[in-house]
Protein backbone atom coordinates (compact mmCIF):
# COMPACT_ATOMS: atom_id res chain seq x y z
CA UNK A 1 0.00 0.00 0.00
CA UNK A 2 1.56 3.27 -1.10
CA UNK A 3 0.71 6.24 1.11
CA UNK A 4 0.11 9.03 -1.33
CA UNK A 5 -1.91 12.26 -1.01
CA UNK A 6 -5.28 12.75 -2.68
CA UNK A 7 -3.91 15.87 -4.41
CA UNK A 8 -1.38 13.83 -6.33
CA UNK A 9 -3.99 11.33 -7.37
CA UNK A 10 -6.36 14.10 -8.40
CA UNK A 11 -3.62 15.71 -10.38
CA UNK A 12 -2.94 12.46 -12.24
CA UNK A 13 -6.64 11.97 -12.88
CA UNK A 14 -7.19 15.51 -14.16
CA UNK A 15 -4.05 15.45 -16.28
CA UNK A 16 -5.25 12.29 -17.99
CA UNK A 17 -8.69 13.83 -18.37
CA UNK A 18 -7.20 16.91 -20.04
CA UNK A 19 -5.12 14.76 -22.36
CA UNK A 20 -8.23 12.77 -23.24
CA UNK A 21 -10.27 15.93 -23.79
CA UNK A 22 -7.49 17.54 -25.82
CA UNK A 23 -7.26 14.40 -27.94
CA UNK A 24 -11.03 14.38 -28.33
CA UNK A 25 -10.94 17.94 -29.65
CA UNK A 26 -7.94 17.47 -31.91
CA UNK A 27 -8.31 14.06 -33.44
CA UNK A 28 -10.11 13.87 -36.73
CA UNK A 29 -11.45 10.34 -36.96
CA UNK A 30 -14.31 8.78 -35.09
CA UNK A 31 -12.48 5.84 -33.53
CA UNK A 32 -9.79 8.04 -31.98
CA UNK A 33 -12.63 10.07 -30.53
CA UNK A 34 -13.99 6.93 -28.86
CA UNK A 35 -10.55 6.01 -27.56
CA UNK A 36 -10.06 9.50 -26.10
CA UNK A 37 -13.49 9.17 -24.55
CA UNK A 38 -12.30 5.95 -22.87
CA UNK A 39 -9.32 7.87 -21.56
CA UNK A 40 -11.56 10.51 -20.05
CA UNK A 41 -13.81 7.94 -18.42
CA UNK A 42 -10.76 6.15 -17.05
CA UNK A 43 -9.52 9.40 -15.51
CA UNK A 44 -12.90 9.85 -13.82
CA UNK A 45 -12.64 6.32 -12.46
CA UNK A 46 -9.26 7.08 -10.93
CA UNK A 47 -10.76 10.07 -9.14
CA UNK A 48 -13.67 7.94 -7.88
CA UNK A 49 -11.47 5.23 -6.47
CA UNK A 50 -9.02 7.64 -4.91
CA UNK A 51 -11.85 9.49 -3.13
CA UNK A 52 -13.31 6.17 -2.05
CA UNK A 53 -9.88 5.35 -0.60
CA UNK A 54 -9.73 8.80 1.08
CA UNK A 55 -13.11 8.36 2.82
CA UNK A 56 -12.55 4.65 3.24
CA UNK A 57 -16.01 3.57 2.13
CA UNK A 58 -16.87 1.49 -0.86
CA UNK A 59 -19.33 3.84 -2.63
CA UNK A 60 -16.49 5.14 -4.79
CA UNK A 61 -15.72 1.70 -6.11
CA UNK A 62 -19.42 0.97 -6.67
CA UNK A 63 -19.67 4.13 -8.73
CA UNK A 64 -16.51 3.03 -10.52
CA UNK A 65 -18.38 -0.16 -11.40
CA UNK A 66 -21.35 1.75 -12.82
CA UNK A 67 -19.04 4.04 -14.81
CA UNK A 68 -17.48 0.96 -16.33
CA UNK A 69 -20.91 -0.40 -17.32
CA UNK A 70 -21.78 2.88 -18.98
CA UNK A 71 -18.39 2.98 -20.71
CA UNK A 72 -18.93 -0.55 -22.08
CA UNK A 73 -22.41 0.31 -23.41
CA UNK A 74 -21.19 3.59 -24.81
CA UNK A 75 -18.25 2.03 -26.62
CA UNK A 76 -20.41 -0.73 -28.09
CA UNK A 77 -23.04 1.66 -29.39
CA UNK A 78 -20.38 4.17 -30.47
CA UNK A 79 -18.59 1.55 -32.53
CA UNK A 80 -21.88 0.44 -34.08
CA UNK A 81 -22.50 4.02 -35.11
CA UNK A 82 -18.98 4.33 -36.49
CA UNK A 83 -19.59 1.18 -38.47
CA UNK A 84 -22.75 2.64 -39.97
CA UNK A 85 -20.97 5.93 -40.63
CA UNK A 86 -18.29 4.02 -42.49
CA UNK A 87 -20.85 2.09 -44.52
CA UNK A 88 -22.63 5.31 -45.38
CA UNK A 89 -19.78 7.64 -46.16
CA UNK A 90 -16.94 5.19 -46.87
CA UNK A 91 -14.82 7.19 -44.41
CA UNK A 92 -15.03 8.09 -40.74
CA UNK A 93 -13.79 11.68 -40.93
CA UNK A 94 -15.63 13.60 -38.25
CA UNK A 95 -15.60 16.89 -40.15
CA UNK A 96 -17.67 15.35 -42.89
CA UNK A 97 -20.32 13.96 -40.57
CA UNK A 98 -21.88 17.36 -40.06
CA UNK A 99 -25.24 16.93 -41.73
CA UNK A 100 -27.12 17.42 -38.50
CA UNK A 101 -26.77 21.20 -38.36
CA UNK A 102 -28.94 24.38 -38.30
Amino acid sequence: MVDVSIAQLLFVSFAIFSIGAGGFLIRKNAISLLICLELMLNAVNIAFVSFSRLHNNESGTVLYFFVITVAACETAVGLAIVLNLFRLKKNIRIQEANALRG
Binding site: A15, N57, A76
Partner: protein, 180 residues
Amino acid sequence: MMEFAFYLVAGLMLLSAGLVAFRPKPIESALWLILHFFLTSTLYVFIGADFVAVVQLLVYAGAIVVLITFVILLLNLNPQEISGGESIRWTSTVLFLCSLGAVLFCLHISTPSLLEKMPAPGSSFGSIEAFSRTMIQNYSWSFEVAGFLLLLALIGVGLLAYRRPSTRDHSNIENKSEAA
Protein backbone atom coordinates in the same frame (compact mmCIF):
# COMPACT_ATOMS: atom_id res chain seq x y z
CA MET B 1 10.85 3.19 -2.61
CA MET B 2 7.10 2.89 -2.96
CA GLU B 3 6.93 6.69 -3.53
CA PHE B 4 9.26 6.29 -6.45
CA ALA B 5 7.16 3.44 -7.85
CA PHE B 6 4.04 5.62 -7.68
CA TYR B 7 5.71 8.49 -9.53
CA LEU B 8 7.07 6.06 -12.13
CA VAL B 9 3.65 4.56 -12.77
CA ALA B 10 2.00 8.01 -12.83
CA GLY B 11 4.59 9.30 -15.27
CA LEU B 12 4.19 6.27 -17.53
CA MET B 13 0.44 6.65 -17.39
CA LEU B 14 0.65 10.27 -18.53
CA LEU B 15 3.10 9.32 -21.25
CA SER B 16 0.93 6.49 -22.55
CA ALA B 17 -2.16 8.72 -22.38
CA GLY B 18 -0.32 11.32 -24.43
CA LEU B 19 0.67 8.68 -26.98
CA VAL B 20 -2.88 7.33 -27.09
CA ALA B 21 -4.30 10.77 -27.78
CA PHE B 22 -1.79 12.04 -30.27
CA ARG B 23 -0.40 9.09 -32.25
CA PRO B 24 -1.72 9.33 -35.82
CA LYS B 25 -2.63 5.66 -36.35
CA PRO B 26 -5.69 4.39 -34.44
CA ILE B 27 -4.26 0.87 -33.99
CA GLU B 28 -1.24 2.31 -32.22
CA SER B 29 -3.36 4.43 -29.92
CA ALA B 30 -5.46 1.33 -29.12
CA LEU B 31 -2.40 -0.68 -28.10
CA TRP B 32 -1.04 2.21 -26.05
CA LEU B 33 -4.45 2.36 -24.42
CA ILE B 34 -4.05 -1.26 -23.28
CA LEU B 35 -0.75 -0.37 -21.68
CA HIS B 36 -2.38 2.66 -20.08
CA PHE B 37 -5.09 0.44 -18.57
CA PHE B 38 -2.47 -1.93 -17.19
CA LEU B 39 -0.71 1.02 -15.54
CA THR B 40 -4.02 2.27 -14.18
CA SER B 41 -4.72 -1.11 -12.57
CA THR B 42 -1.26 -1.05 -10.97
CA LEU B 43 -2.16 2.43 -9.66
CA TYR B 44 -5.32 0.94 -8.15
CA VAL B 45 -3.21 -1.82 -6.56
CA PHE B 46 -1.01 0.91 -5.11
CA ILE B 47 -4.10 2.55 -3.64
CA GLY B 48 -5.19 -0.81 -2.26
CA ALA B 49 -8.29 -1.37 -4.36
CA ASP B 50 -7.43 -4.88 -5.59
CA PHE B 51 -10.84 -5.91 -6.86
CA VAL B 52 -11.09 -2.67 -8.85
CA ALA B 53 -7.66 -3.29 -10.39
CA VAL B 54 -8.66 -6.73 -11.64
CA VAL B 55 -12.06 -5.56 -12.86
CA GLN B 56 -10.28 -2.75 -14.69
CA LEU B 57 -8.17 -5.28 -16.51
CA LEU B 58 -11.00 -7.72 -17.07
CA VAL B 59 -13.53 -5.19 -18.40
CA TYR B 60 -11.50 -2.39 -19.90
CA ALA B 61 -8.42 -4.15 -21.20
CA GLY B 62 -10.13 -7.48 -21.78
CA ALA B 63 -13.41 -6.42 -23.38
CA ILE B 64 -13.77 -2.75 -24.35
CA VAL B 65 -10.41 -2.29 -26.00
CA VAL B 66 -10.77 -5.68 -27.66
CA LEU B 67 -13.94 -4.31 -29.22
CA ILE B 68 -12.15 -1.16 -30.36
CA THR B 69 -9.20 -3.11 -31.70
CA PHE B 70 -11.56 -5.42 -33.54
CA VAL B 71 -13.33 -2.55 -35.25
CA ILE B 72 -10.02 -0.91 -36.17
CA LEU B 73 -8.69 -4.17 -37.62
CA LEU B 74 -11.87 -5.14 -39.41
CA LEU B 75 -12.55 -1.75 -40.94
CA ASN B 76 -8.97 -1.80 -42.11
CA LEU B 77 -9.09 1.89 -43.00
CA ASN B 78 -6.50 3.41 -45.26
CA PRO B 79 -5.05 6.79 -44.20
CA GLN B 80 -7.17 9.15 -46.26
CA GLU B 81 -10.32 7.58 -44.95
CA ILE B 82 -9.36 8.38 -41.42
CA SER B 83 -8.12 11.88 -41.06
CA GLY B 84 -8.84 14.73 -43.31
CA GLY B 85 -9.94 18.28 -43.07
CA GLU B 86 -8.68 20.86 -40.72
CA SER B 87 -9.59 20.32 -37.11
CA ILE B 88 -9.86 23.01 -34.50
CA ARG B 89 -6.26 22.64 -33.35
CA TRP B 90 -5.28 25.89 -31.89
CA THR B 91 -8.41 26.39 -29.78
CA SER B 92 -8.03 22.94 -28.24
CA THR B 93 -4.35 23.36 -27.44
CA VAL B 94 -5.05 26.74 -25.82
CA LEU B 95 -7.97 25.29 -23.93
CA PHE B 96 -5.99 22.26 -22.83
CA LEU B 97 -3.07 24.29 -21.57
CA CYS B 98 -5.15 26.80 -19.68
CA SER B 99 -7.28 24.05 -18.10
CA LEU B 100 -4.13 22.23 -16.99
CA GLY B 101 -2.84 25.49 -15.59
CA ALA B 102 -6.17 26.07 -13.82
CA VAL B 103 -6.00 22.64 -12.22
CA LEU B 104 -2.45 23.08 -11.07
CA PHE B 105 -3.37 26.46 -9.65
CA CYS B 106 -6.34 25.01 -7.82
CA LEU B 107 -4.31 22.09 -6.42
CA HIS B 108 -1.46 24.38 -5.55
CA ILE B 109 -3.42 26.65 -3.32
CA SER B 110 -5.96 24.01 -2.29
CA THR B 111 -6.51 23.40 1.37
CA PRO B 112 -3.48 21.87 3.10
CA SER B 113 -5.63 18.94 4.23
CA LEU B 114 -5.64 17.72 0.63
CA LEU B 115 -1.88 17.62 0.52
CA GLU B 116 -1.44 15.35 3.53
CA LYS B 117 -0.84 11.71 3.02
CA MET B 118 -3.97 9.69 3.05
CA PRO B 119 -4.55 7.55 6.16
CA ALA B 120 -4.17 3.80 5.68
CA PRO B 121 -7.44 2.26 4.61
CA GLY B 122 -9.41 -0.21 6.71
CA SER B 123 -8.48 -3.88 6.41
CA SER B 124 -11.45 -4.83 4.20
CA PHE B 125 -11.02 -1.86 1.78
CA GLY B 126 -10.73 -3.03 -1.80
CA SER B 127 -11.88 -6.55 -1.19
CA ILE B 128 -14.77 -8.16 -3.02
CA GLU B 129 -16.84 -8.69 0.17
CA ALA B 130 -16.81 -5.00 1.12
CA PHE B 131 -17.51 -3.94 -2.44
CA SER B 132 -20.37 -6.32 -3.03
CA ARG B 133 -21.92 -5.69 0.38
CA THR B 134 -22.04 -1.90 -0.27
CA MET B 135 -23.27 -2.33 -3.79
CA ILE B 136 -26.06 -4.78 -3.07
CA GLN B 137 -27.24 -3.02 0.07
CA ASN B 138 -26.96 0.66 -0.75
CA TYR B 139 -27.06 0.69 -4.54
CA SER B 140 -29.25 -2.28 -5.41
CA TRP B 141 -31.68 -0.16 -7.39
CA SER B 142 -28.91 1.43 -9.51
CA PHE B 143 -27.42 -2.04 -9.99
CA GLU B 144 -30.72 -3.15 -11.59
CA VAL B 145 -30.77 -0.05 -13.76
CA ALA B 146 -27.16 -0.70 -14.84
CA GLY B 147 -28.18 -4.22 -15.85
CA PHE B 148 -31.12 -2.81 -17.81
CA LEU B 149 -28.80 -0.27 -19.46
CA LEU B 150 -26.55 -3.10 -20.65
CA LEU B 151 -29.58 -4.87 -22.09
CA LEU B 152 -30.59 -1.71 -23.93
CA ALA B 153 -27.09 -1.25 -25.29
CA LEU B 154 -27.11 -4.86 -26.43
CA ILE B 155 -30.38 -4.41 -28.35
CA GLY B 156 -29.25 -1.04 -29.70
CA VAL B 157 -26.02 -2.37 -31.07
CA GLY B 158 -27.85 -5.35 -32.53
CA LEU B 159 -30.20 -3.07 -34.38
CA LEU B 160 -27.54 -0.61 -35.48
CA ALA B 161 -25.10 -3.15 -36.76
CA TYR B 162 -27.64 -5.41 -38.46
CA ARG B 163 -27.48 -5.22 -42.23
CA ARG B 164 -30.17 -6.79 -44.26
CA PRO B 165 -28.50 -9.36 -46.53
CA SER B 166 -29.64 -7.49 -49.62
CA THR B 167 -27.84 -4.29 -48.66
CA ARG B 168 -24.54 -5.84 -47.74
CA ASP B 169 -21.93 -4.52 -50.11
CA HIS B 170 -18.69 -6.28 -50.51
CA SER B 171 -16.90 -3.38 -52.12
CA ASN B 172 -14.79 -2.49 -49.12
CA ILE B 173 -13.02 -5.81 -49.10
CA GLU B 174 -11.55 -5.80 -52.61
CA ASN B 175 -10.05 -2.31 -52.77
CA LYS B 176 -8.24 -2.41 -49.42
CA SER B 177 -4.62 -1.39 -49.69
CA GLU B 178 -2.07 -0.45 -47.06
CA ALA B 179 -4.01 -0.48 -43.75
CA ALA B 180 -3.97 2.02 -40.86
